[in-house]
């Protein structure tokens, strides 16, 4: 996979620049309790027209990373280090005016809960038209026309009437469609979807994911799909990044990670997923413990306090030494390649059925 040929740490470019390249990103918030290390040295690349899934528990830094791409963190309370290159343009530390021109235009975001993410005070049409008018200089009428067109595209019936509705007059699925219409109104080259289907019921979920795929084919956008649902990623993404405690712990293609995961955390994620085909008496295997506090993340491998395989590594290596994430298909774990394979086949795979 060409998108996965970069190392975690090395900034050395190989060949053509990727469309989006995040290099060694650190995001830290200063809070009353101390410094929260929300993203801790993250790197990934994304090509045009591809979909990158980012999975991980709540608080693993998925959303924070992507808000950093759009530059939406409050600069007064946030420290951002590292590089975010969008077609070679540096976004970290870019001027607000520069970012304003990119947001909603070249890069757009779909938020999780459309009910709270859309303003209750303005019509759906106006909220869709706003970025279009701002970025293309279109008139109010053209903006409205465009909003109707976009609503039709995302499958809202009677778009010429619904354009004047307020978000609360839409159903949950329709609101999410409207949100997608809003994000796509300027044909963004990069679309970040932050748990776009989490608040929806399953049937609507599938429709929304199909819609995203269709629109991606039409516009050729690159998509970052943030989710904690591996099922969503399986059908939608090309590549996958598993995050834990603000770091990438495993990366590969979706197929590679779902069929041959190599990190104990990914094993945990897969084992804790209920399956339709499994027997009711069969127990799920949740990951023991809770995600770490990012105020004082664990030393070494951040997953070691919850890891059931740390004894296999031997000594206190897991607690002392941070495992690197090698280039390409890789996992950040001190277990040897043979161990990973053996444990997966002997202990994990039988659970996955």
């Amino acid at each position: 996979m060409t998108t996965l040929t970069k190392t975690e740490d090395a900034a050395a470019p190989t060949g053509a620049d990727p469309f989006l390249s995040v290099r060694d990103l650190y995001v830290r918030f200063s809070t009353e309790d101390g410094i929260v290390k929300a993203v801790d040295g993250l790197s990934f690349d994304l090509e045009r027209g591809k979909t990158l899934g980012i999975v991980g528990e709540s608080g693993s830094g998925k959303s924070v990373t992507n808000l950093a791409v759009l530059g939406l963190h409050n600069p007064r309370a946030t420290e951002i280090k590292g590089e975010i290159l969008l077609e070679g343009q540096e976004l970290t530390g870019a001027r607000e005016k520069t970012l304003e021109k990119l947001r909603g235009n070249k890069m757009a975001m779909i938020f999780q809960d459309a009910l709270t993410a859309l303003s209750p005070y303005y019509t759906v049409g106006r909220q869709i038209a706003e970025p279009f008018m701002k970025h293309t200089g279109a008139s109010k009428r053209e903006g409205r026309q465009r909003a109707i067109e976009m609503l039709a595209k995302v499958g809202i019936p009677q778009p010429n009437l619904r354009v004047d509705d307020y978000p609360h007059q839409f159903s949950g699925g329709m609101r999410q469609r409207a949100m997608i219409a809003m994000a796509l109104v300027c044909n963004p080259a990069l679309l970040i979807a932050d748990e776009p289907t989490t608040a929806l019921d399953v049937t609507v979920q599938a429709q929304i994911l199909d819609l995203l795929k269709d629109l991606q084919q039409e516009f050729g956008s690159a998509i970052i799909l943030i989710t904690h649902d591996l099922g969503v990623v399986a059908n939608t993404a090309d590549d996958l990044l598993v995050m834990y405690a603000g770091r990438a712990v495993e990366r590969g293609t979706v197929k590679e990670i779902l069929t041959e995961p190599r990190h104990p955390y990914t094993w945990g994620l897969l084992s804790s997923m209920p399956r339709l085909t499994s027997d009711v008496t069969e127990l799920l295997h949740p990951i023991p413990g809770t995600p770490p506090s990012l105020l004082s993340p664990p030393t070494g491998c951040p997953f070691h306090p919850r890891c059931t395989f740390k004894a296999e590594v031997g000594g206190t290596r897991c607690a002392d030494e941070r495992p690197p994430l090698a280039p390409g298909r890789a996992s950040a774990c001190h277990l040897t390649a043979e161990q990973k394979q053996t444990f997966f086949i002997e202990q994990i795979k039988p659970r996955l059925g």
């Binding site: 759009l70 939406l72 007064r76 607000e96 304003e100 021109k101 990119l102 947001r103 909603g104 235009n105 757009a108 975001m109 938020f111 809960d113 709270t116 993410a117 859309l118 303003s119 209750p120 005070y121 303005y122 909220q127 706003e130 970025p131 701002k134 970025h135 307020y166 609360h168 007059q169 809003m182």
Partner: protein, 323 residues
């Protein structure tokens, strides 16, 4: 909208009725107004005569019924006819209650409107500026100054301001001049009361508008607007401000309602003859018709502003409009 207003008006009338009834009957538990107006060396005959003149010799229920009917039809007293809406004659001044109320209203209304203009403009402007510059020196200055000012008291601030500006001849001594007889004189006479009264309100509005704006700026829909590439100023004024309107309008409605019902302390401090002072005087002299008049009048104003606020919600928030 119309059924809503109808329902609210009906509710307000019920509240007014209950309030009137309660006050009327509680009053007679408080003491004998004839004794008050007669003084210390009073004979039983004198008291009986006063009772008869004031209509206090009739059963309380009859008095109450006459009072209620009088509001809608007017009443005839020994001193003359009292046209509807008739709240009777004051025990203390022998003036018609309704005429007295109408006489005092312009003072109170002028005080309320002028004060509100000052505290709204200054309070919201500083609050918004503090929210825009949150975390900076400007924000901290405004916040701490408003903290100090909101704990100031009119009866302390008033004399100090008077001492500085009136005795040095910079500003006119507070007095009420009717607006029709000269807007300049009207404004000059009320300038000090406006400023002093507005100080405390301004501080409250600064703090409130700042905090609701800061809260709104953290709302997800405000972040979405930013994510669409809308400018910081646009997001601030269109998205965050729009969401801040509801709490601000709510408090404003309550404040205006009580200000129109009479700013007791301000009127007392600056010796202005408004509804607030009328309320205090009538209570201290056990002037039943006047107490009832002021009470009904002030309560009606407060209820009216409440209805206006509720109707305003519908304009601000489309979710209210439809339900």
């Amino acid at each position: 909208m119309l059924p809503f207003l109808f329902r609210r008006t009906l509710g307000a009338l019920v509240i007014l009725f209950l309030l009137t009834t309660f006050t009327f009957f509680v009053f007679f538990a408080a003491g004998d107004p004839a004794q008050m107006s007669c003084g210390k060396n009073c004979t039983a005959d004198n008291i009986a005569l006063i009772h008869q003149n004031l209509g206090l010799d009739k059963p309380i229920t009859t008095q109450y019924w006459d009072f209620l009917v009088g509001i809608f039809t007017g009443r005839n007293f020994s001193v003359g006819h009292c046209p509807a809406p008739c709240f009777g004659y004051s025990f203390a001044t022998k003036q018609q209650v309704w005429a007295t109320l109408l006489d005092r209203l312009p003072t109170t209304a002028s005080l309320a409107i002028g004060g509100a203009v000052v505290f709204l403009t200054v309070g919201l402007a500083t609050g918004l500026l503090a929210a825009w510059k949150r975390g900076t020196f400007v924000d901290k200055t405004f916040t701490s100054v408003s903290m100090v000012l909101s704990s100031a008291q009119i009866y302390i601030l008033g004399p100090i301001v008077m001492g500085i500006f009136v005795y040095s001849g910079l500003l006119e001594s507070p007095r009420y001049v009717d607006f029709t007889s000269g807007p300049a004189a009207w404004g000059a006479g009320l300038l000090i009361p406006w400023l002093v009264m507005a100080t405390i309100f301004t501080a409250q509005y600064t703090r409130m508008s700042r905090s609701t704006m800061v809260e709104q700026l953290q709302e997800e829909h405000v972040r979405t607007a930013k994510a669409k590439g809308m400018s910081g100023r646009y997001v601030f004024l269109r998205y965050a401000w729009r969401g801040s309107l509801i709490p601000i309008v709510t408090i404003l409605g309550m404040d205006l309602g009580s200000l129109f019902g009479g700013a007791m302390i301000t009127e007392y401090t600056f010796q202005l003859a408004g509804l607030g002072r009328l309320a205090i005087t009538s209570v201290t002299t056990l002037d039943l018709p006047m107490i009832l008049g002021v009470l009904i009048f002030s309560s009606a104003l407060i209820l009216l502003f409440n209805i206006i606020v509720d109707a305003t919600y519908a304009f601000i928030d489309p979710r209210v409009r439809l339900s």
